[in-house]
Structure formats: structure tokens, C-alpha cells
């Protein structure tokens, strides 16, 4: 299948108190039609900023410094904001990070659905209501509840309603920012299954932003790992989880225990991501990386293809096998 979304060299920065904060830095990303891509990384790594930049809904103090975002071959960054807004909902839609609270508390869900379906989609009210019923069914909600207000819904139901709304106009691509983070395991699983079914039945493409690698493994065929504004490793989820090549990915895997495997000790990644207003020289992970060499602190590692469709931005990518051995030992990570 062809590439649906192609991102090349995308950079975004925020102005904050006179300094520029480069929250997304030269990101390349491909999403094939019908694929689900998981975007993982710690808090503050720029995941939401990237998602918002793809949607063209960045806050006022943010600017795109370069790069292109092509949907079906057409560069979205060249469109005027008004043209771009027209594509929202119809071609790509967004489930924002706080979608639990993003529904408007003063309107019934049916009215919020109508807003999207009639105003954006140009459907007559009657057709819109029928479509709303179908959408609610497709995300596992009882259509009777369309007349409810958001506060009458549980967290999981609100999350599903937000997904239903994102699907309203049959977009080609849905970007969901942390769609399950605030939910308990059972509801989380139900929401994940809803998204998975939509992918299988409708061929929906999606970018799922999360900090939980297990969620990506469960749901997505492709994974991109983001650190300090950059994609440090990407490829199929299978390749990334079986053969992680960037030490950051190895660290994330260590920190994500498997319920069904005995764990002696969990291994944290010490420290925190750098301040993006003043990122470290060289590889941005070097200050936290137990496997860093002197060269890592000098210059930026370019992405290296380690196997077809799997690349990592690490100077030691060629030694990945040995690094994985080392990274599995807890002693490697505690200094």
C-alpha cells in the first residue's frame, strides 16, 4: 500500500520568554495507508507538539520552522490556514490529549455530533443523526446515550465519544494523543480494542501517541520512538521490541515490565529528558545513556538503517546485538 502521510524534516518551535524552544526537530515519518503507528517517548519529548503540527492546530506561540507534511502526496504546510482547516475532520482528525475534558459540557453529545456532521460535513440534520447513531455503535456506545451530556459519561465513555467524533467524516487518518492514559486497565483495553477493530474493519490509519510501550505493542504495527524532539528509532513494532537498537528504546523496554514474565528488578532510566531550550551537544540522549562513547557527546548521530524499514539514530547501531546484552543487565543502568 502507498504512503498516506509523509513527514520530511519537520521542525516546530515555541517562543517562550524570548527564547525559542525547538520541541520538534527535523522529524521524518511515514505512515502507510491502513497502518497504525505508535509514537512513544517520555513526557516533554514533543509528542503532542508533533501531533498538533501534523494537524495544523499549533498554539499561537508555536511556529513551523521547516519541513513538509504531505497527505496523499499533497503538501499541507503550503495550504493557507483556512484551506487547512477545511481538511480537518474530513481528511485527518484529532483526538486531543485531554479529550476526556475536551467535550463541551453544556451541549448534549448529539448536538456536538451535529456540529461536526452538519457544519463541517454538510449533512442534513436527519442524516447526521443517523450517522451519529452508527458512529456510537461502532465505538461500542449505546446510541440512546446520544442525548446525554458529557458529565453523565464515565471516563472511558467520554474517550469513546471523542473517538466517534473524530471518525465522523470518515477521515483517512486519525491522530489520537494519549487516548487511554487516564483509564483503568479494563476500560483501556476496551478502548484499544475499539480502535483496533476500526483499523481492521474500516482500514483506518492512525497515529497513537502514548508513553506506554505496551499500548503500542498491543495496537500498532509500526512504532516511532521520540526523544527530546527527535525520532531516535523507528520501524515495525516487532523489530523494535525484539531488536531495539537505540539505547533509549532499550531503556523504555526495560522499564515496561511484562505481567507474565517474572521480574527481578525493574530498571529505570535515570534522570529526565533535557530542557529543549538548551539541548545538550551531540546525541541528546548521551547524558543519560550508559552506553555513550566520547563521540556521542561531540556530534549528532544521523539515522542509520539497521534492517529494511528499521532505522535508529545511534553511533553504536552496528553493535546493537552486544548493546542489547549489556542493556538487559540492571547494573548497566545504575551509575
Amino acid at each position: 500500500m502507498g504512503t498516506l502521510l509523509e513527514v520530511k524534516g519537520l521542525s516546530v518551535s515555541y517562543r517562550r520568554g524570548g527564547v525559542a524552544v525547538r520541541a520538534v526537530d527535523a522529524v521524518d515519518l511515514d505512515v502507510p495507508a491502513g497502518a497504525m503507528l505508535g509514537l512513544v517517548g517520555e513526557s516533554g519529548c514533543g509528542k503532542s507538539t508533533l501531533a498538533r503540527a501534523l494537524m495544523g492546530v499549533l498554539p499561537g506561540n508555536a511556529s513551523i520552522d521547516g519541513g513538509r507534511v504531505a497527505l496523499d502526496g499533497e503538501d499541507l504546510t503550503e495550504l493557507t490556514p483556512a484551506k487547512r482547516r477545511q481538511r480537518l475532520w474530513r481528511e485527518l482528525s484529532f483526538v486531543p490529549q485531554t479529550s476526556m475534558n475536551a467535550l463541551d459540557p453544556v451541549y448534549r453529545l448529539r448536538d456536538q455530533m451535529r456540529e461536526v456532521l452538519c457544519e463541517r460535513g454538510g449533512l442534513p440534520t436527519k442524516a447526521a443523526d443517523e450517522r451519529a447513531v452508527a458512529l456510537f455503535r461502532s465505538v461500542g456506545l449505546d446510541p440512546v446515550r446520544l442525548t446525554d451530556f458529557p458529565h453523565q459519561f464515565s471516563g472511558g465513555m467520554r474517550q469513546r465519544a471523542a473517538i466517534a467524533m473524530a471518525l465522523a467524516l470518515n477521515p483517512k487518518l486519525v491522530i489520537a494523543d494519549e487516548p487511554v492514559t487516564a483509564l483503568d486497565v479494563i476500560v483501556q483495553r476496551q478502548v484499544l480494542d475499539t480502535i483496533r477493530r476500526l483499523g481492521r474493519d474500516l482500514g483506518l490509519s492512525a497515529i497513537i501517541v502514548t508513553h506506554d510501550i505496551s499500548v503500542v505493542t498491543y495496537l500498532c504495527g509500526l512504532t516511532a520512538v521520540m526523544y527530546a524532539g527527535r525520532i531516535v528509532e523507528q520501524g515495525t513494532t516487532e523489530a523494535l521490541t525484539r531488536r531495539p537498537t537505540h539505547p533509549y528504546t532499550m531503556g523504555l523496554m526495560n522499564a515496561s515490565p511484562d505481567l507474565h514474565e517474572p521480574v527481578e528488578t525493574l530498571v529505570p532510566i535515570e534522570g529526565a529528558p533535557p530542557d529543549l531550550a538548551d539541548p545538550p551537544k551531540g546525541c541528546r540522549f548521551a547524558p543519560r545513556c550508559p552506553l555513550a562513547l566520547a563521540a556521542c557527546r561531540e556530534s549528532d548521530p544521523p539515522p542509520v538503517v539497521v534492517e529494511p524499514g528499521h532505522s535508529a539514530a545511534c553511533f553504536r547501531a552496528a553493535e546493537a546485538g552486544a548493546l542489547r546484552e549489556a542493556a538487559r543487565k540492571a547494573s548497566t543502568w545504575t551509575r
Partner: protein, 304 residues
């Protein structure tokens, strides 16, 4: 296993916690309207404090010109900056000394409203139950009273001294402050750090006074600055309507004098316009301070 924190975060020397005054100063620097408001107050406070040396004449002294004539209704001149009244009193001196009762009434009423409002809001919001219901009923009742008529009746009953005017204003204005502070207290009580205080053995009074009260100071401050304008206006209105004390010179009595002697018809603008402007300025200052107060109330702690 005691893990090591990342040196490059911890090493960066962070500034000390900014105190309330530092925050206040920063808030003012960023907020021109609040700065203007505070400046207006400061100027008036200074004038009131130094009134004795600023005023060239005794405000109630009846003045005569050099040729022995009553210095009545003189236009502004170097000797009488704002001219004189129809009884030969210096308007500028009256204006300067009139700042004293006005500010006294304004500031004491502010303190009274802020104190009563905070106390009632804290107790009602934190203790809840019947205490809350009783206090809020009372607040509703007071809010239902018509403001000026009630003040007039009360002052007529207990006498028109400045203290009594402050008292009546405080009695009428605390409910607004108390209601808002109560709801703020309710929100704060839900915060986990309050439960944390309880779990570590803090008594109810300590939680109320040490953990909750500091967080409502900005709100109390806000309602205090609103009360300043109200109190001064009330005092002026009472004087103007003739219910005030007759022996003190205030902006209100000046306006009343000017009105009674038909200064408007005689186009003696320099007599009644300045006290009017002063009143407007003081009320405006309270309004300017209250604007944008949220920033002070809910400091975005993230921007430290």
C-alpha cells in the same frame, strides 16, 4: 539501590522560592493597570499623610482679601490654586485635607471587609455542615438588603461618625467576599495536599490557618480593594445627601457645599470638579487593581 538523580537538572542553581511580596512586585511589573491602581492609592495616601503641610490654609478658616473683603468665590490663582468657596474658604486646602476622611473610611472598610469575608468564608467552607448553611443564609439575607437606603437608616440610628460609616459598609459588603472565598476554600479542601496535612497529624485549625488561609489572601485583597471605592463613595454620598457628619471636611461635604451654593450655575468648576475627579480616581484604582488579579491568585507556578 538508591538511585542517583540526574546531575544536570539538580546542579542548575534554582532561585529561592519567591515570597508573596516578590510575587506581588512581579505581578505589578507585568500588569500596567494594577500598577496604575496601586500608584493612585499611594499618591492619595501620601497626600493624606502630609495634608497638614501641603494645605496652605485651614480648610474651614474664612479668608479675607488684603483689602478686607470676604475672599468669596475667587477664581483659581497662585494664592488659591482652586479658588475659594462662596464662604471664602480655600478649595485646594479642603481637597487636600478631604483625602484624610475618605482614605480612612476606604482603608478601614477594606480591612474590615477582607477580614470578615475571609473569616466567614474559611469557617463556612472548611467546617461545612450547619455552620456553613447558617452563615450562607445570613450572607444571602444581607445581600438582599438595598445598599444605600440601609446605610442611611443605620447611620441615622447609630450616628454619622466615620467609624459608624465603616461599620455599616463592612456589614453590607462582607457577604460578597465571604461567598467567593468560601468556594475557593471548598476547592482547596479537595486538593490532595490538604489530605496530606491531615494524614501527617495536622489539626483542623492548623489546616485551616496554615494550609488554606495563605491561599485565599489574594482574594481577600481583591475584595478589600473593591471595598475601598464603595466605602469612599458611600461616605461621600452620605455627606452629599446631608446624612453625614457636618464637622469633617471630606470630598463628599465639598460636593454637597458646592451643590447647595449652586456652584454649577455660577460656573465655579474648580470647586466641585476636583473632588469629583478624586472620587472617580480612587474608585477606579480599586477597579484597576482587581482586573487581572487571577494571575496573582493562581500564580502559574510553572513559570518560576
Amino acid at each position: 539501590m538508591a538511585s542517583i538523580e540526574l546531575p544536570h537538572i539538580a546542579a542548575a542553581a534554582r532561585p529561592r522560592a519567591p515570597g508573596l511580596f516578590a510575587r506581588l512586585a512581579r505581578h505589578l511589573a507585568k500588569n500596567p493597570s494594577a500598577l496604575i491602581g496601586v500608584s493612585i492609592y499611594l499618591v492619595f495616601v501620601l497626600v493624606a499623610a502630609l495634608a497638614g503641610s501641603i494645605a496652605p490654609y485651614d480648610p474651614i478658616e474664612i479668608l479675607f482679601t488684603e483689602d478686607g473683603q470676604l475672599a468669596a468665590s475667587l477664581p483659581p490663582s497662585a494664592a488659591h490654586l482652586l479658588g475659594t468657596t462662596n464662604l471664602g474658604r480655600d478649595v485646594f486646602s479642603q481637597l487636600v485635607l478631604g483625602a484624610r476622611p475618605s482614605l480612612f473610611v476606604g482603608l478601614t472598610a477594606a480591612v474590615a471587609v477582607a477580614t470578615i469575608g475571609s473569616a466567614v468564608g474559611l469557617v463556612a467552607g472548611y467546617l461545612g455542615g450547619w455552620v456553613d448553611r447558617a452563615l450562607m443564609r445570613l450572607a444571602d439575607l444581607v445581600l438582599g438588603l438595598p445598599f444605600l437606603p440601609f446605610v442611611i437608616v443605620l447611620v441615622a440610628l447609630i450616628g454619622p461618625s466615620l467609624q459608624n460609616i465603616v461599620l455599616t459598609v463592612a456589614i453590607l459588603l462582607w457577604p460578597n467576599a465571604a461567598r467567593v472565598i468560601r468556594s475557593q476554600v471548598l476547592t482547596l479542601s479537595q486538593r490532595q495536599f490538604i489530605e496530606a496535612a491531615r494524614v501527617t497529624g495536622a489539626g483542623e485549625w492548623r489546616i485551616m490557618l496554615v494550609h488554606i488561609a495563605p491561599n485565599i489572601v489574594p482574594l481577600a485583597f481583591l475584595y478589600g480593594s473593591i471595598a475601598v471605592g464603595w466605602a469612599i463613595l458611600t461616605q461621600a454620598s452620605l455627606s452629599f445627601l446631608g446624612f453625614g457628619a457636618t464637622d469633617t471636611i471630606s470630598w463628599g461635604t465639598m460636593l454637597q457645599d458646592a451643590y447647595a451654593s449652586q456652584a454649577l450655575d455660577r460656573e465655579q468648576f474648580s470647586w466641585f470638579v476636583p473632588p469629583g475627579i478624586c472620587l472617580v480616581l480612587v474608585v477606579l484604582a480599586g477597579f484597576l487593581i482587581s482586573r487581572g488579579y487571577e494571575e496573582l491568585l493562581f500564580p502559574k507556578l510553572g513559570e518560576g
